[in-house]
């Protein structure tokens, strides 16, 4: 039962262009959606989040869009930089006596110089 799905295992983008990473979910009860970035041999690091009552959140080069009717969110990185090359995990959180988080399988982003 995959409640959070990232259907693209990898994405390759030219430096300076936009990277768009996609995520679909099935549970309407999630309270927050988050993106984490992971470099090899390191733990994931929190990147950006969005509340379920919002449809957009922006932080510098990173913007997350939430489409609740489609149960879809996306992460936009503009402009993409070689240092953005990493695995990006989409995650969804619900609060039931504590925040419970479910992660997608990840998308590996390659930014070519």
């Amino acid at each position: 039962d995959q409640q959070v799905k990232q259907n693209s295992p990898s994405l390759s983008v030219q430096e300076g262009r936009i990277s768009i990473l996609n995520c679909d979910y099935t549970n309407s009860m999630f309270d927050y959606f988050l993106w984490y970035k992971k470099y090899p041999a390191e733990g994931p690091t929190f990147l950006i989040s969005i509340s379920s009552i919002k449809d957009k959140n922006e932080d510098g080069r990173f913007t997350v869009f939430l489409n609740k009717s489609a149960k879809h969110l996306s992460l936009h990185i503009v402009p993409s930089q070689p240092g953005d090359s990493a695995v990006y995990f989409c995650a969804a959180t619900s609060y039931t006596g504590g925040f419970k988080t479910i992660f997608g399988a990840g998308t590996r982003l390659f930014v070519k110089a």
Partner: protein, 111 residues
């Protein structure tokens, strides 16, 4: 602010042996998580603590895995006996609100 600390970083054991991992969360974070991450997959929650108490251990294989959180701070995760399919990265994370902060992980190889 110090991050989440984990040790060891790497461990190689034979099947049927036991192993233990240690985690020290960020100071003041009430919630602590242990995840298992198999190559090519996202982190899968094994157990979640809120202070000393267990909030969720529904996906913890309790016949071989155990975890405790000492005085609501440090935590240990133990596997006894290990199986080949336990080879994975074990991640510890802590949080005060919805975003989690992860340690570097322990890569376990079971041969």
């Amino acid at each position: 602010e110090a991050g989440v600390a984990q040790s060891p970083r790497y461990k190689i054991i034979e099947k049927r042996q036991s192993v233990a991992f240690w985690c020290n969360p960020i100071s003041g974070h009430a919630t602590l998580y242990w995840y298992q991450q198999i190559l090519g997959q996202g982190p899968k929650l094994l157990i979640q603590f809120q202070n000393n108490g267990v909030v969720d251990d529904s996906q913890l294989p309790k016949d071989r895995f155990s975890a405790e959180r000492l005085k609501g701070v440090d935590s240990t995760l133990k596997i006894q006996p290990a199986k080949l399919e336990d080879s994975a990265v074990y991640l510890c994370a802590s949080s005060s609100v919805h975003e989690q902060y992860f340690g570097p992980g322990t890569r376990l190889t079971v041969t």
